[in-house]
């Protein structure tokens, strides 16, 4: 399970993530949506223990990623948007290195051939990472995420640069991990994929969560029955002079549709 509570990441005068709270239950896929610069990647990096939150916390399987880093990360797999990999390791060595870091060499031994087959990496297993195409790197990065016993998966734009066959396989893999009880958070701009793949959606804008819920719940709350996620997303994140379309002019409230309630901002009782 992934729990994020009032997470803040501040850079000098810029607040990249602002008071972000959500929970992903085991067996659930949640899409993290937002326009460019909304803070999706920063939020993911905070959850992955790469960036240190300025305030708030993230917990993986109950372990805080700052206070109890090793235990938290043991259950985590992170697939970055454009994975930077160790160029001078072979594909096989790269997987082995990740398995060593997670102390899961027996799992590596058991799963490595299957992963190579699944992601068409078998013929490349002895090639240096430096020689791989962008799509193959993405596949290797995904394979690295699956080489240990993770039950919380963070995918940052996982389908960018992968060929249709690889994308289909990855989507199947994501569903498979969900069915095996993992909590999955996917950051993506592919709204149709998010619509089909995810159980729930979180929409960020300027670091703040502006909407959360299932697609049906979002439709109901935004009064856009029968519309696509794309329409709802554009309506919520539309940057007109008065801010997002469906919220108050001053500060956007969080539409917490998960529990079918609208929580207005503090001090604003008019909504």
């Amino acid at each position: 399970m992934l729990q994020v509570h009032r997470l803040v990441k501040q850079y000098k005068n810029f607040r990249a993530v602002d008071d972000l709270t959500f929970t992903i239950q085991p067996g659930e896929i949640v899409a993290l949506l937002g326009p460019n610069g909304a803070g999706k990647t920063t939020a993911m990096r905070c959850i992955a223990g790469i960036l240190r939150p300025t305030a708030g916390n993230a917990a993986i399987n109950g372990f805080d990623v700052v206070q109890d880093q090793a235990k938290a990360k043991a259950g985590l797999a992170f697939v970055p948007e454009v994975p930077s990999l160790y160029e001078l390791l072979t594909v096989e060595e790269h997987l082995k290195f990740v398995a060593m870091c997670f102390n899961t060499l027996p799992i590596y031994e058991a799963k490595v051939d299957e992963l190579f087959d699944r992601y068409a990496l078998k013929e490349k297993r002895h090639d240096l990472v430096a020689t791989l195409s962008k799509g193959m790197r993405q596949k290797l990065s995904v394979a690295c995420a699956l080489i240990h016993n993770a039950n919380v998966f963070l995918f940052d734009e996982p389908l960018i640069g992968i060929d249709p066959e690889g994308a289909k396989e990855l989507k199947n893999e994501i569903v498979r991990t969900r069915n095996e009880g993992a909590s999955v958070l996917i950051s993506t701009h592919l709204l149709d994929t998010a619509e089909r793949l995810c159980d729930r959606v979180i929409i960020l804008q300027r670091g703040r969560k502006v909407a959360e819920g299932t697609l049906e719940q979002l439709r109901a709350m935004s009064g856009m029955q029968g519309r696509s996620l794309e329409d709802i997303f554009l309506a919520i994140t539309h940057d007109g002079p008065s801010g997002p379309l469906n919220v108050a002019p001053q500060a956007p409230p969080v539409i917490t549709v998960q529990s079918v309630e609208i929580s207005p901002p503090p001090g604003d009782e008019t909504e």
Partner: protein
């Protein structure tokens, strides 16, 4: 902890092994490695080898009188202090060096940041120790000879002083590496406190440098004597701010003064500084990943561009960050209108003004000095030798401009091949205009300087006019050669091929420049008017440039950046 270290050891070993193996995989890389090895052998190792003429250095002229300890102490301190200056300034900069892969692959794993920090510190220790080790290995013979000479008649000093000097230097290196990590983590955090910490550190370092500087300046006003200098260096105003150098001096001086207690205190002090710094670094270790990631994300593009030699890309990145502004000249050039391939010249003029103008400004004083010396000689002597020296200066300036500056532009050109090739020009035309576009700014600058020189040395007018005639031809031929070499060895990411490309370029310059040298040499020997032999030089170089452009055009037509 040790278990966490295994994957890092695996990573270091496998990366090093695969890197070495990779450098032997293709003929181009192999040639590059062999070229680099030969280069280092001839330029660095051979001069220190047994049979070299340098190996006897220091064995002649022994110092018969041992320097008094009262003078040796401040001398040793001064050496350590001066060696510390760059390291002191390094305290203010980020000390990381993490790769993007560390951020994406290593940081999200359960490997402890303490282990990662430990590995990083050990690596930097190795690097810090590498330089003295290289000096020790390559320069052992001359160093030993120097020590023998210094301690002639004082063998007991020599044995200990050499060892304590090495220990002192090693400890100083370790001190600065450790302090660098402690301060880097202290001031480079992404929270607001780090700004305050940074200012505190800047103020501290500034005072540590300013107070001794003011002290020295105030003391050096009167008559300067050797004893006066010694007293200045021995003053606590100097010794306290540079405490690392002071402690190391105690270590080095202990065997000479036989004050062993002070020596051990110095060694303990240095060990204490290392331990204290590491302790401070470890208290901040939770910020290690955050800092590296924040720095890494902001600099990853720049680093990748630097690695590829993509200077234009770096400027573009700076422009995106608002660090590069339009200048008036580029705004003026951008208003010009051209048709056809001349647009390539316009594009080059704009790019060079935006990216290289400061390089030209920096080089200008060098060119003026290169001009001034022969011109001054010419004014005073009006001799033919001054004229030849002037032509040699001109050749050197052309070499600097072509070898140093056009290579980057051609790398840029080859990287933008997907944009250039679909333009409605034949490869030959594209290549020709690209070469001319790169030559023009340099030729304009050199011609302007030569024209200016005419006013200072009218007696040298024939040779100056000759240089103005020869310059475009020679510069175009050499620039065309740079493009041929860039097309032959276009792997920008491969450091060995990069080194080899540079070597090939030097060789190519020698070959392409030889007809010019021959014609000028014959003309000089026959005492022909320089203007007369400048014309065949121009024609020959124009022919060479044309030939090389044809070759470049052929290579460019089949050039595939994916290969």
């Amino acid at each position: 902890m040790m278990r966490d270290a295994h994957p890092l050891l695996f990573l270091v070993w496998k990366s090093a092994f695969n890197g070495a193996k990779r450098s032997l995989t293709t003929p181009r890389r192999l040639i590059g490695v062999l070229g680099a090895l030969l280069y280092y052998t001839f330029f660095f190792i051979r001069p220190f080898s047994r049979n070299s003429e340098f190996s006897g250095m220091g064995q002649t002229a022994p110092i018969t009188q041992f320097p008094e300890a009262t003078y040796l102490n401040p001398l040793v301190f001064t050496v350590f202090m001066l060696a510390s200056f760059p390291m002191v300034l390094g305290l203010l900069s980020y000390r990381g060096g993490f790769k993007p892969a560390d951020i994406d692959v290593l940081f999200p794993t359960p490997v402890s940041p303490k282990v990662v920090l430990g590995f990083r510190v050990i690596r930097d220790y190795m690097v810090a120790l590498l330089l003295p080790l290289m000096v020790a290995v390559l320069g052992m013979r001359p160093l030993s000879a120097g020590m023998m000479a210094l301690f002639t008649g004082f063998p007991r000093y020599g044995v200990y002083a050499g060892k304590s000097l090495v220990i002192g230097w090693l400890m100083v290196s370790l001190c600065w590496v450790s302090m660098g990590y402690a301060t880097s983590l202290f001031v480079g955090r992404s929270d607001l406190k780090s700004d305050r910490n940074r200012w505190l550190l800047i103020a501290g370092v500034g005072m540590a440098l300013a107070i001794p500087a003011i002290f020295v300046a105030s003391k050096l006003r009167g008559e300067i004597t050797l004893d006066g200098v010694r007293d200045i260096v021995n003053s606590p105003v100097m010794r306290i701010p540079f405490f690392v150098a002071s402690l190391a001096t105690w270590v080095v001086m202990a065997p000479i003064t036989e004050n062993w207690i002070l020596g051990w205190v110095g060694l303990a002090g240095l060990v204490g500084v290392v331990a204290g710094s590491l302790k401070l670094a470890l208290t901040q270790v939770e910020w290690l990943y955050d800092q590296a990631a924040a720095k890494g994300f902001s600099s990853v593009d720049i680093r990748q561009l630097q690695k590829r030699g993509d200077t234009y890309g770096i400027y573009a990145e700076q422009a995106r960050k608002g660090k590069l502004r339009r200048n008036r000249l580029s705004a003026w050039i951008s208003k010009w209108n051209f048709r056809g391939p001349i647009a390539l010249l316009w594009k080059d003029a704009l790019l060079q003004v935006r990216t290289s103008i400061w390089s030209y400004v920096i080089l200008l004083p060098l060119f003026i000095i290169l001009w001034a010396v022969p011109i001054q000689l010419g004014v005073s002597s009006s001799g033919r030798r001054a004229g030849i020296l002037f032509l040699a200066s001109q050749a050197l300036a052309i070499f600097i401009l072509t070898a140093g500056m056009t290579q980057t532009s051609f790398i840029e050109m080859l990287k933008r091949v997907d944009f250039l090739k679909p333009l409605p020009f034949t490869p030959m035309v594209t290549v020709f205009y690209e070469v001319v576009g790169k030559v023009i700014p340099g030729v304009v600058i050199l011609t302007a300087l030569s024209a200016g020189a005419l006013g200072f040395a009218p007696s040298q007018a024939p040779v100056i006019v000759a240089s103005i005639i020869m310059c475009p031809g020679v510069a175009t031929a050499l620039t065309a050669l740079v493009l041929v070499i860039s097309l032959l060895f276009p792997d920008f990411d491969d450091p060995t091929q990069r080194s080899f490309r540079n070597l090939m370029m030097l060789l190519g310059f020698a070959i392409v420049g030889s007809p010019t040298v021959a014609i000028v040499g014959i003309g000089y020997a026959l005492k022909v008017n320089p203007i007369l032999y400048s014309l065949p030089v121009l024609i020959v170089n124009a022919a060479i440039a044309l030939g090389l452009s044809v070759l470049s055009g052929t290579l460019y037509a089949t050039y595939n950046p994916s290969e």
